[in-house]
């Protein structure tokens, strides 16, 4: 196994920076992803009962506000704290998050992602500093009061300073997003998003950045197109279809199953290896993503909650009334364009070196065994 070993080591060095970026992204998305069930509960209630929903109901719509203002940020701050300092970190993360919630006028997702881990980190430093110095029998008293006192302090700090500052920042970020949408620049984000996705930064980008901004926007306007930047299942579908019809013969058999898992199951990871196998196919993904966003901006599309996983079923569920034709066009045209570009790219490749393609794949698969 000498050659594969060398190859693995090389790969590990190459992914050094990549792994660091993935880690930072994982830290951000790790605060959101365990709580997606709560986002879906909020999204369903919103989609059904708000005045522009499917079955408007003033009484039940009262659930929407407290869920987005308190429940979701508290869960994020709690989870962020837990990632830094276990159960004690989780508790102080939640306390600190209340500070920024009350100190701001907009739902505090980014604030929670900031102050939850920060509060837990402060508590961790204090816990480490006094570890082993407490007299036997006083541990519980000290533990509870350090958490309570530091938590109260950070909640006050959050209310007075961090909440308003983050609030201001979220306003600016929201303006930035509006600027991108109004000037038709949103499709350009695909140039960055699609390649990053395939490098397994999909969750980092979507749940670390786009979901929190999208929820802020959706809480104001009822829907957000930011939920559709990374999650559109169209480009991946087009790429898989191109591989099915024009890809290397060896991988074609695996494609139909991958299509079901990708498009209906929403596990986009399943198509990344096909692109990594033929890196030029990323052009097809970008073209498809840009097309989708172009159609989305043109038709004023948006979803009411983050579709996670990015399955067509999640899309159908979270499209607001009257938006389904636009949404389906966005997904279908994205798939059509990425298929057309992908098919052209695969065909050109075969024309040049028809004999080599299958060997290439065989070699890559052999490399995978290491």
């Amino acid at each position: 196994m000498s050659l594969p070993d060398a190859q693995v080591n090389k790969n590990r060095e190459d992914t050094g920076i990549g792994a660091q970026v993935q880690r930072v992204g994982r830290f951000l998305s790790g605060m959101i992803m365990p709580n997606i069930g709560a986002f879906i509960a909020w999204g369903l209630i919103t989609a059904l009962f708000i005045p522009t929903g499917w079955v408007p109901n003033e009484n039940l719509a009262e659930l929407v506000g407290p869920m987005i203002v308190y429940l979701l940020p508290l869960l994020i701050g709690y989870t962020g704290g837990r990632m830094v300092h276990g159960q004690r970190g989780a508790v102080i993360g939640a306390i600190a998050t209340v500070g920024v919630i009350v100190g701001a006028e907009v739902p505090m997702f980014l604030g929670a992602m900031l102050i939850g881990p920060l509060a837990a980190w402060v508590l961790k430093q204090v816990d480490t500093a006094i570890d082993g110095k407490v007299k036997p029998g006083f541990e519980m008293l000290i533990d509870n009061f350090t958490l309570g006192i530091i938590g109260a302090g950070i909640a006050i700090l959050g209310k007075l300073t961090i909440g308003p500052v983050v609030s201001w920042f979220v306003d600016r970020a929201g303006n930035g997003v509006d600027f991108l949408v109004e000037n038709g620049l949103l499709p350009l984000t695909s140039i960055f998003v699609e390649p990053a996705k395939v490098l397994f930064l999909n969750n980092a980008i979507n749940h670390g950045v786009l979901s929190p901004l999208g929820v802020e926007q959706a809480s104001n306007t009822g829907k957000s197109i930011l939920f559709m930047v990374e999650t559109n299942p169209g480009p991946g579908l087009g790429i898989l279809l191109a591989f099915w019809l024009f890809g290397p013969r060896l991988v074609r058999a695996t494609v139909p199953g991958a299509i079901v898992i990708h498009f209906f199951g929403g596990i986009h990871e399943i198509y990344f290896p096909y692109i990594l196998m033929k890196p030029k196919m990323i052009i097809a993904a970008i073209a498809g993503g840009m097309t989708g966003l172009f159609v989305g901006v043109l038709m004023n599309n948006g979803l009411v909650a983050p579709p996670s996983p990015g399955s067509i079923f999640a899309y159908l569920t979270f499209t607001p009334p009257g938006g389904h034709i636009g949404m389906l066009l966005q997904v279908t045209l994205a798939a059509a364009v990425s298929f057309a570009v992908g098919a052209a790219l695969l065909k050109f490749g075969r024309g040049e070196k028809a004999e080599l393609t299958e060997e290439d794949v065989a070699a890559e698969r052999a490399g995978a065994v290491s």
Binding site: F200, A258, I267, A368
Partner: protein, 102 residues
């Protein structure tokens, strides 16, 4: 270089970035394949692989993180999520008693 003999494999960890999507999918197919050898298959976020893990399967793009989280585990990277040779190799090592290395 961590290594393990196929007959000593009692548990296999399937890892992905969030531990919620692709790893769960791969884990359910591997579980079906490895159940007859009495091997437990669980899924995990790549940064939270248990320290006592002995065998980890994850996509090649995440292998470096997996190895640094679990330095003593044999990390077996795969390229595709269905029908990758790494899956076959693992099952064969367990059934025929071959040695696996990171």
């Amino acid at each position: 270089m961590p290594s393990i003999h196929g007959s000593e494999v009692k548990q296999v960890i399937i890892a992905c970035d969030a531990g919620m999507g692709s790893s769960v999918m791969v884990a359910s197919t591997m579980r079906a394949k490895l159940a007859k050898y009495g091997v437990e298959v669980i899924h995990s976020p790549v940064d939270e692989i248990p320290v006592e893990a002995s065998v980890v399967l994850c996509h090649a793009g995440l292998a470096a993180r997996a190895q640094s989280t679990a330095p003593n585990a044999v990390v077996m990277p795969f390229q595709v999520f269905m029908g990758d040779p790494a899956f076959v190799k693992l099952e064969k090592a367990i059934s025929d008693g071959e040695t696996l290395e990171s």
